[in-house]
Symmetry: C2
Subunit: 387 residues, 2 copies
């Protein structure tokens, strides 16, 4: 088992009416910037709950943070934070709003010339402007961790950032919000959480017995509840398990002590940056192709997954093949395509994979995966097969 350290400082309030804890978690006298996205919170009751919880605080609003939070949008919010002397933020939304708010948390206290450097130079955030979150869309786990991903369209880039200063002070997770989500966001959330677990689990057999079992537990639960999440998102217990799976998938626990992959995310980010495809949907495009390409080195773990999670039998090779086929079928059952060509506005098969790999090569050396053995030509082959 690999050495690790772990701290989960976010104070999580999980359940019905969890928003009633907001006021007690924000320092008295704070001037609060409430950040949100396209305005769905004004139709599902969340906005009213949050605003009534913030009574007594001075509140400024910043709406319009888009999916794949955009750097230029966030710069406008940053100006408001400085002009209004904001002392606390409350991110009300899904992973994009929370990630965008993490960037603001970092940039508000950044003393360099250009806040883009936080992303471009990979500067870790040790201390950020404090913020809480009210989760409206289970998927990314961003409500419980200290990482974020920010896009900058003019450069066609999507870059990660993080650091111990970016943990939310608290997060409000009320599963009743799931009832109001469109089908596309539900399926995206399931695929996102599923792939998060896979990136930390689907490598090679290690001695981390307990971590494997916990990851398999999350995967089994997601497979079990997915049909009901889609058909009855208003069922509270189904929604609660869905929300808790998304959180556990990326709160840090299952990555401790094990090798991790994250190659699917690396390639997926480029597809979002180039073609605006939903984050989760890019993962569904890359994952099957990635696992088929790496099926030799991942075979033992794929077989373990097939046996323990899917309950299949067969030779190791048969099990590995079946595992990939069933994952692809699982994504398709959620009406999430697993080929790039399923999307409009995508370049041709000759162009799209090449552009994505070239873009990635601009921002990092391509040596992906748990063995660092996925190089440029491998990435291209994987995306070609995923077209």
């Amino acid at each position: 088992m690999i050495n690790f350290n772990l701290q989960l400082p976010v104070h999580l309030f999980f359940g019905k009416d969890a928003h009633k804890n907001i006021a007690s978690q924000i320092p008295t006298g704070s001037k609060v910037l409430v950040t949100y996205g396209g305005g769905s919170i004004k139709n599902n009751g969340v906005y009213e709950n949050v605003m009534s919880a913030l009574e007594g605080f001075e509140v400024v609003e910043f709406g319009g943070i888009e999916a794949n939070p955009e750097y230029t949008t966030l710069l406008r919010a940053l100006q408001i934070i400085k002009e209004e002397n904001i002392t606390f933020m409350l991110a009300v939304g899904g992973g994009s709003v929370i990630d965008g708010t993490k960037f603001l948390s970092s940039a508000a206290l950044y003393d360099g010339d250009d806040p883009w450097d936080i992303l471009a130079k990979g500067i870790r955030t040790e201390v950020g402007l404090p913020f809480g979150t009210v989760l409206t869309l289970p998927a990314t786990g961003s409500e419980m961790n200290s990482g974020a991903v920010i896009s900058r369209k003019e450069l066609g880039q999507k870059r990660p950032m993080g650091g111990p200063g970016l943990f939310p002070k608290f997060s409000i997770c009320d599963p009743t919000v799931v009832a109001s989500l469109p089908q596309r966001q539900l399926s995206n959330g399931i695929v996102d959480a599923f792939t998060h677990v896979m990136e930390q689990y689907m490598t090679y057999p290690t001695s981390a017995t307990l971590q494997d079992r916990i990851s398999e537990g999350i995967l089994a639960t997601l497979i079990e509840i997915a049909p009901k999440v889609m058909s009855e998102p208003c069922d509270y217990d189904t929604a609660a398990n869905f929300m808790w799976c998304c959180n556990m998938a990326l709160n840090g626990i299952i990555q401790k002590g094990v090798p991790t992959d994250w190659s699917i995310h690396a390639l997926g980010h480029e597809l979002t940056a180039l073609y605006g495809i939903d984050h989760a949907r890019t993962l569904a495009i890359v994952l099957p192709s990635m696992y088929r390409y790496k099926s030799d080195k991942k075979q033992a773990k794929l077989a373990q997954f097939a046996q323990r999670v899917l309950g299949l039998e067969g030779s190791e090779q048969e099990l590995a093949t079946k595992a990939i086929d069933q994952i692809e079928a699982f994504f398709n059952s959620l009406e999430v395509p697993t080929k790039l060509s399923a999307y409009d506005n995508v370049d041709s098969a000759e162009v799209a994979p090449k552009r994505a790999v070239e873009n990635l090569a601009k921002i990092r050396t391509i040596k992906l995966g748990e063995h660092g053995d996925i190089l440029e030509e491998d990435a291209l082959a994987i995306l070609n097969a995923a077209y």
Copy 2:
């Protein structure tokens, strides 16, 4: 799923040489009280590691905290804390040393007349004297949570305490310490962790699908690794899984959103208080008898455990019976007896169960278990069957 809140603020350093992180985690200029037990740390290298990590700090030592940490012993340490103006504590030991140090953390800042009131009146500790831990014996999970249990022999009592002020600031978990543990402590640790999970899992089927899967993952791992923990405690990866299981069993995660039992602990504590039987061994005495007595209400969950963790098949009733038999056989395979009469210095079958129940009734109303339906006469019947 039941509403919950969760925070794991302990900074955990897990792995080989984790003690090298100690110095960075203690505020500069602290005057540190190092607490420990019977002195085994002076034979296994832990004492030297800790003392060299504390170079530059003013250090005072307090050794001799016994298993089932004794109130009168701790009062002597409390006097030293006050006389020496201690500002930080480092608990180096197993659950007893850590629990004792938690009492000191609370008592050092308690402004009432009698520190026994913290236990007798169940006063929650909101702020305690800060402390870290260096775990030398995986079992109780105390290194990651904010609870403690303290004994007072003159009253024949063993009482719990807790509160958010009692989380360690950091915990050092180096699995190499497992190699030096005697067989009895290894088996006790396995039984303790196993029963911790059971108290949070073995109730009735609920909608908390993910929590069940995680608990089952810990139980399956403990059953899988137990033989090697006993035969090869010097195998690093086995030791690491063992240590991580004990932590995950009681760090709070698996209890979130589910009903819990804890009746086995309630009765077990009385057997320790009366007869000095090791904590884990009292759990092994009570568990099989408890589950047989409550097999009607626990039948569905026992069957789920038998299917998912033990891989058994049969009717629900058959599975439940087999589950209890196999748990008992598992404890016995570790040479941990499952009957009270296996111990010397225990009163007769007519006296011992009665004394234990009477003692428990002195400190709380006996309405135990997830349904609160284990009353005095039930507790007596359970202990009679466990004799």
